[in-house]
Each structure stands twice: as structure tokens, then as C-alpha cells.
Assembly symmetry: C2
Homo-oligomer: 135 residues x 2
């Protein structure tokens, strides 16, 4: 299966709330995660909310990383959306799990932009191979 | 089930490629979608890539909207991440499906930050109600 993008939905539960409420630490963690994954950073936007909680985006040439933190629940929602074969989103996810000290993280991988004509081509190819074997 | 965030993963297939490659049209569509959903826009960041393709983020007080377009495949990946009960992410999704003229869209809804103690409380509450009815 060939997809245009790989999207990791990272649930960072049981994190260190003191890190989740620190704008500079959250920003540095996301930017560093992008660099760890060998991404090319294009733009960075982080904002702090009252009473607490931080939202941040790191736009990369290979798509984006985003985070929303709820320090009061020791929770952060992270998305790592990448395209291409060079960047490794799982490296960024593992790095962020360590940086936020998440004790019970979970990661869901979604394939985005699955190209249907790739799926249609595969059975045709298999049929041809079978014919060759039988002849 | 109570979750901190609602995340719509929108696959915009069979779109109008001329719209997907137009930076101003893509930016206006995302910003307008945020306004349609009654979101409070905090920051906007859009970038065009060579040979074509646009990445954009709209940071809102209620989380974010993002888009990555592949005009060569008439495809765009949109994420609409919201928190709170006032904003309606499905309104933004429906608006973007129309704006990009997607003929075969799909939407996956993910609940982010499910609060486990809410799930634990519910059965206790039900037990108490049953006792009251029987006594």
C-alpha cells in the first residue's frame, strides 16, 4: 500500500505537568523532535492559554508537528504528519514521550492519501506472475 | 465518554486541482472554515512548495486546522482538532469539502484525551441508581 502521508496520533498521558505548562520547554521539545526526525523546519507558532495549556505548531517541509497540552490532566495530544521516506516520524514520537516523561503513552499510525490506483495495479501484476509460473 | 478533544481526519479526494495549487484560495478556504465553525483564529501560516503543493496551519483558541495539498493527485489531507462544546468541527469539514469540490471525501473522527476516571465513575453511579429503585 502506498500513501502520500504518514500521520502519527500520539496520546501523551501521565506526563510531567510542570513541563506541559512551560511554554519554552514545550516549544523546545517540539522543535527538537522535528530536528531529531531530520525534518526541515519552515515555521514555528506556539501560544499559551489561561489558566494554563499550550498549543503549538511546527510547520516542516515534510508536513507538520502539533501539540496541545492540558497540564491539569497531565496530558498532551501530539500529531506528527510526515511525507516522504527520509523523515522518521516514530523517532520524533519516541523523543517526545521521553521529553514529557509520559508514563502511559499510545501511538496510532494513520496512512493519509492512499493512492487507489496503486491498489488496483497490484492484483494485475500478481495475475501476470501466476501466468508465467503456469506456462 | 468524555474526551478533551475531537479530531476530524478529513481525506479530500477528487478535488479541483486548480484550487489545491492556489495558495490564496487554500488559505482563504481554511480561514473561512475556521470562521464557519465559530473558532477564534490566533495565527495563520501557509507555505507553497515546488513544483506544487501547499501546507497550511490555522491555530485557533480551540486547537487547530491544518491542510496539506497534492494537486497532482487532486488530494488534500485536512485535520480539524477542536476542544470545547461550542465549536462545531463537522461544520468546518463540510465547508472544506464544498470549497475544494471533493467528489469522494471521507471523515474519520478520533476522540483525543479520553479521561479514564470518567469511565470509572459511570458504573458506580449506575449501581447507586439501581439500589435506589430497588429500595
Amino acid at each position: 500500500m502506498y500513501a502520500l502521508g504518514t500521520h502519527l496520533l500520539v496520546e501523551l498521558r501521565d506526563c510531567n505537568p510542570e513541563i506541559l505548562k512551560d511554554l519554552n520547554k514545550v516549544k523546545d521539545a517540539l522543535v527538537s523532535a522535528a530536528k531529531e526526525a531530520k525534518a526541515t523546519i519552515i515555521d514555528v507558532s506556539f501560544h499559551e492559554f489561561n489558566p494554563f495549556g499550550i498549543s503549538g505548531m511546527v510547520v516542516i517541509a515534510e508536513s507538520h508537528l502539533s501539540i496541545h497540552t492540558w497540564p491539569e490532566y497531565s496530558y498532551a495530544a501530539v500529531d506528527i504528519f510526515t511525507c516522504g521516506d527520509i523523515i522518521k516520524p516514530e523517532v520524533a514520537a519516541q523523543y517526545l514521550i521521553r521529553r514529557f516523561e509520559s508514563k502511559t503513552p499510545s501511538v496510532v499510525e494513520m496512512k493519509r492519501g492512499i493512492l487507489s490506483f496503486d491498489n488496483e495495479k497490484r492484483p494485475h501484476k500478481v495475475c501476470e506472475e501466476v501466468v508465467e509460473v503456469l506456462s
